[in-house]
């Protein structure tokens, strides 16, 4: 039970983690993340890495869509840009792994800012269509700029190297993906304690009012696109090192919808929402597979017979969450936390 949180400075009031209990849970979480690779098999490590990559990309989209109110359906194509940058840097230049990731983020940020130019004139569905168009253009480039992208066959990438170690397997990549994910999520959370982050929120809530308040819309909207794309680029770069083959078909349009769904299901405009949304969208299909697998002893063809049902259940779960909790999984999490604030005195 928590009676209250005493804050005696503005700094304490703005702190990301303001209670000892919160910090304790965070420390426990960090220990769990550190211990996880030693307890998990390749399958769970693979999923953990994939979740990490999805969290980075979803957080990026959350900055743009959740916090700035600019709908984008180009996140997968932006990830593609990052993946190709990494593939080219690794194969043609042989530059270090972390530098390649940074380059992927920066190049994608620039592409994102160009794509974001229409956002000054259009928003909502119109902007969504503009980003879809941009994503088709990018896919066309991936497919047809054969000399650079390898055309439809794409590019194969050697394993990442860090301090002489080969990062080929999920166990090794986990130690890079997880810290990077944590840093990027923390950076995003921190962003919304700054003038830039507050400007994004002001634009989302009412762009005209924001402009009246002295927020230059073009600069901040492009900045939001740039930041969001930076996250997508880094996620795409990690994706490239993780799967080590990049083709135009690696980042289909439906992948963009996956990230938008993750933002909405998780809770738009909350950092925790981005994390929970990415976890939900990645792990729930796997959890449903597990349930189907558990039925196998009683139903020999369970996997074949129930796979279509599993897809329906996943869709129904998304619809159910949207209807029952439109503020997303983050709101459910908040309610659970509030419950324990006064537990056991008030239940």
């Amino acid at each position: 039970m928590r009676i209250g949180a005493l804050k005696d400075s503005y700094g304490a009031d703005q702190a990301l983690f303001d209670t000892a209990v919160q910090r304790l849970w965070l420390a426990l979480g960090a220990v769990a993340l550190l211990a996880f690779p030693f307890a998990a098999n390749d399958y769970w490590l693979y999923l953990a890495c994939l979740v990490g990559i999805h969290i980075v990309s979803t957080t990026g989209l959350n900055i743009l869509t959740g916090y700035t109110g600019l709908v984008s359906l180009g996140q997968a194509a932006f990830m593609g840009v990052g993946a190709y940058v990494v593939a080219l840097a690794e194969t043609k230049l042989g530059t270090p792994f972390l530098l390649n990731l940074l380059a992927a983020g920066l190049v994608t940020a620039m592409v994102g800012m160009v794509v974001g130019v229409p956002s000054l004139r259009v928003k909502g569905l119109y902007l969504a269509i503009a980003t879809i168009a941009a994503s088709f253009i990018l896919h066309f480039v991936f497919q047809n700029w054969t000399t650079v992208t390898g055309g439809t066959r794409g590019l194969s990438i050697p394993p990442a190297q860090l301090f002489g170690l080969e990062l080929a397997r999920p166990f090794a990549l986990y130690w890079v993906i997880t810290p990077l994910t944590c840093i990027m999520v923390l950076a995003a959370a921190n962003l919304f304690r700054t003038r830039i982050g507050r400007a994004f929120i002001a634009i989302r809530d009412r762009d005209i009012s924001a402009e009246v308040l002295g927020i230059p819309l073009l600069r901040y909207k492009l900045m939001s696109f740039g930041l969001s794309s930076f996250y997508a680029g880094v996620a795409g770069g990690l994706w490239a090192y993780f799967f080590r083959v990049v083709t135009p078909e690696s980042f289909p349009f439906v992948y963009s919808i996956f990230f938008l769904a993750a933002v909405i299901v998780g809770g738009m405009g909350t950092i925790l929402g981005g994390i929970l949304g990415a976890v939900f969208m990645t792990l729930v299909p796997e959890a449903l597979k597990l349930v189907v697998g558990l039925l196998s002893p009683w139903m020999p063809n369970a996997v074949a017979l129930l796979s279509p049902v599993r897809t329906i259940v996943f869709g129904a779960l998304i619809i159910g969450f949207l209807i029952l909790e439109p503020h997303g999984l983050a709101e459910i999490w908040r309610r659970i936390r509030r419950f324990f604030h006064l537990w056991p005195f008030k239940t």
Binding site: D42, Y43, Y46, T152, R153, R169, E249, P285, A304, S307
Partner: protein, 393 residues
């Protein structure tokens, strides 16, 4: 009986392990495991379901006959929805909890992605739903093979047939704008030139295109004798054929394996009449030769089974044959030994699934036959003999 705290803890851990998909003790030394990333949902589900049935049926047959050199075969699989990330997850899950000797892959993307890990493991060989030319390279993909001809070989079968039937014929190529669709274009051009055939038109369409009127007009201008489609399953082939017939074009339409399922064309009806294509396997209903394995399939499944089923069935057969040869030679079942055993297959009788004895020297079986759809009888009818397009080594 009382349960101690330790026993309860062990039971809890075992239950947790089971729930987490970790199944200790399931992998037995005296069994052979075929694992598979199978697309039971998603855009490729139409094939995945057939592939799954084909593998499962062959495993059932071989186990009823005593297994492979006395070892039972176990087939484990999971759905991938035809997504590479899910296929890799399934691979990690199944190979982590089963000592897999063979693996079925669902796509070219997955086959390329998992290749380094497959080579690193060195414990299994892989085949799958992809006939990509790129995979037909034993140096780059030493532990993989294609249970049939690659896409370039399929086109070679068609061109060989055309060159024989109508020397000097004009050909148009229609390919979908995907990795799958663009796969054989370069080799098709080279092969056509070699056989004295001319390429009159090359059309690349989006994979989901519906309105093909401008493309049909291009065909009309080129007036080819044969139009070869590749990179599609069905759409937009019927649209092409219907519009071409309306314009009075005499061109004969051809396709490759994934466009050749009989039930697909039966639904199209009259417009499908005369459609030709290459098939690496016999059809379910083929009775024009001695094919005991087809008879067994018909016995097990009284209703028509798809071409994808045949692909899965033959893949499982080749897996088991490689395993048998490896065990009979008293060799350890490593990827290298299994692949060598597979490559020792020479003039092998598939029980009539393929109409000619097969030899696997590299990563594929470069054999196929041209079939033509007869709309009146609603069946694909074999044209000419089986064609072997293996390159001289």
């Amino acid at each position: 009986m009382t349960i101690t705290r330790r026993q309860a803890l062990a039971a809890g851990i075992a239950a947790g392990g089971l729930a987490a998909g970790i199944r200790p003790g399931l992998a037995q030394a005296n069994e052979i495991v075929i694992a598979g990333s199978i697309p039971l949902t998603g855009v490729f589900a139409f094939a995945g379901i057939g592939i799954n049935d084909g593998i499962a049926d062959y495993v059932k047959l071989i186990n009823e006959a005593g297994g492979v050199s006395g070892r039972k075969v176990r087939y484990v699989y999971e759905d991938t929805a035809y997504k590479v990330d899910q296929s890799v997850a399934v691979f990690n899950k199944l190979t982590g909890s089963n000592a897999a000797n063979f693996y079925y892959s669902d796509s070219t993307g997955f086959a390329k992605t998992i290749n380094p890990e497959l080579n690193r493991k060195g414990s299994m060989i892989m085949a799958g739903a992809s006939f990509a030319t790129e995979l037909n390279d034993a140096k780059a993909y030493p532990n993989q093979f294609i249970a049939g001809p690659d896409y370039s070989d399929m086109i070679s079968v068609l061109l060989t047939y055309i060159a024989k039937t109508q020397p000097g014929a004009k050909i148009a190529l229609v390919n979908s704008d995907t990795e799958f669709g663009r796969d054989p274009i370069a080799t098709t051009e080279a092969m056509a030139k070699k056989l004295g055939l001319s390429i009159a038109e090359k059309i690349v369409t989006p994979p989901t295109s519906v309105d093909v009127s401008t493309e049909v007009l291009k065909l009309r201008r080129a007036n080819p004798d044969y139009t070869i489609f590749h990179g599609y399953v069905l759409a937009p082939l019927p649209e092409f054929m219907t519009q071409a017939k309306q314009l009075g074009l005499k061109t004969k339409f051809m396709g490759t394996f994934w466009s050749m399922d009989n039930s697909l064309w039966a639904k199209v009806g009259e417009a499908a009449n005369g459609f030709m294509g290459v098939m690496p396997y016999r059809y379910y209903f083929d009775e024009d030769a001695k094919a005991p394995m087809l008879a067994k399939i018909r016995q097990m499944r009284p209703e028509y089974v798809s071409t994808a089923y045949m692909q899965g069935f033959l893949t499982a057969m080749l897996f088991c044959e490689a395993g048998k040869r490896c065990l009979d030679a008293k060799q350890e079942m490593t990827a290298t030994n299994l692949k060598a055993a597979l490559n020792s297959i020479k003039d092998f009788d598939t029980g009539g699934l393929i109409g000619a004895p097969i030899t696997i020297t590299g990563n594929s079986i470069p054999v196929g036959r041209v079939y033509q759809y007869d709309a009146a009888r609603k069946v694909m009818v074999g044209q000419g003999d089986w064609i072997n397009v293996s390159k001289p080594s």
